[in-house]
């Protein structure tokens, strides 16, 4: 038996749920962190809707980290979610106030929890628009690969392809199709 260290608490159970793709893990995170995040945001110029949106964003960030295998539990999950929510909210405030001489310095906010929505360029927007025009199973296949970070073997099993090579060939076709659709939106270089 390989020696392993396990995290022995409720956080571990929540992480396990998320890794399994069980949405209950996300709901649990949301419920358990709603009060402090709402308190923080509403005390810092935000509304209840702002707070809930920020918390949802933070939970999604955590989900993404876990799926990318870049999350390491070094403190309680609630600490991570709260800190991420705080950073997202401060960044949004900083954006809103960037024309004023900074109450908040955007550079002082942890970059690793930055909201990627703000970095969208025209090309990315065009691809997103093209993605919505992309039919099935291509859209699902690409989402499983780029978002869910599943391997080709997992995608093949998930989508009923004969094997990983078949799924891989299909993925290539889907990417080409997406590029063509996006090229209609912008000048697409291949």
């Amino acid at each position: 038996m390989t020696a392993r260290i396990f995290q022995f608490n409720r956080d571990a159970e929540t992480l396990r749920l998320i890794q399994k793709g069980d949405r209950e893990g996300l709901v649990r995170l949301y419920r358990e962190n709603r009060r402090p995040v709402v308190s923080y945001v509403t005390k810092n110029s935000g509304t209840l809707d702002d707070a809930e949106d920020v918390l949802q964003e933070a939970v999604v960030v955590l989900w993404e980290r876990i799926r990318e295998n870049t999350f390491e539990l070094q403190s309680q999950l609630s600490t991570f979610v709260y800190a991420t929510s705080r950073n997202i909210w401060l960044r949004r405030l900083a954006q809103a106030r960037k024309e004023q001489s900074g109450d908040i310095d955007p550079d002082s906010i942890a970059a690793d929890n930055a909201d990627p929505e703000e970095e969208v360029d025209g090309r990315t927007s065009a691809i997103r628009a093209a993605l919505n025009k992309l039919g099935e199973p291509c859209r699902t296949l690409l989402m499983l690969f780029y978002w869910e970070r599943l391997s080709m073997e997992e995608i093949a099993a998930n989508m009923g392809f004969a094997n990983a090579d078949t799924a891989k060939a299909k993925k290539y076709q889907c990417k080409e199709q997406l590029r063509r659709l996006a090229a209609k939106e912008i000048s697409w270089t291949t």
Binding site: F6, A12, R16, L26, Y30, R31, R35
Partner: protein, 353 residues
Amino acid sequence: MDDVNNHWTDDEDLLERFVLDRIATKERDALEKHLEACWACKMRVENEIAMAQALRLEGRFRLKQELKKLVAGVPPVQSVGWRWVAAAALLLAVGTWLVRREPVPDTIVKDQEVQVEEASPRLGHQPPSAAQGQPTDRLAERRRTDVDRQSTGPDRADAAATSAGAGTEQRRRLPREEQPARAAEEALMALEGAAVPLADAGPDMDVWVTALVIDEKAKKGDTTAAGEGQVQPLTDFTARAAQAPSTAKKGLAMESVDRPQFKLKHNVSVRQESQLALPATQQATLTKDGGATFPAKLQQLGDTLVVTLYPESRIQQVRLDQSVVASSADDTLFIMLEGQYIVVPLPAAIRKK
């Protein structure tokens, strides 16, 4: 890769691995060097990055929408509820204490073992005769002991108690210093490979065991050594380290099993006391490969298992309460403290049925 006419971006797999950061740093450096000289390749990488980002944003958007639906109407966890629960528990505890309080002399009874026995008659495996002993007899005996303490001093009181009792009663009256001595001895025996004589603790006594603490540094080191990349969070497990001396020597060996157990989760109260409070011979914190053992005392008070840890000073700063109790297997209690994990074996005498 150095040949500008040999474009690595033609390799779709490599392009994806580059963008999704699934390549080694050294390889990445070489590929980036090529990009500096190949404009077409650079554009292709940027397009791939844009595609990955678009799919990522779309994924975020969809997940967020899904989460919104899932949590719609879900009430938040009300922390004020816990305050009510705590207040109710406190009231219950006070009420129980008042009901059980008997008219004894004003002497402060410091003998915890007597209190434990009265609060929890099912502690340990008592012989039928002892288990069915008349409470009034015990109270009378305790009153006699207290009177003896008042009139003759502690030494003579202990002697009187010893002469009045027999068998387990006699063990119960042992000076407190002798019990930690057993724990230290057991800790040493565990590391040396001898069996820990837990069953020898006696039915009415506190049960002393050897707890194992594993710190964060050890965790990381061990995980790296195992080639796992990062901590694998799981909950279905048991730990043999605190039980099997051979594994305890390795410090960190744990075994995953398919039997989630949380039987003690809501009935465990963890305390800690300074190891310095124990006699010097009992301060048995032994470090081994990032793990360390120290004495721990188990008491069953009603439905609550009270675990008193006697760790070395490094975890004395941490506040302990029920929330740190992580889970329990049939025979082992797991406690998490900020970055540290404590494994406490549970002898059959105090396991919850």
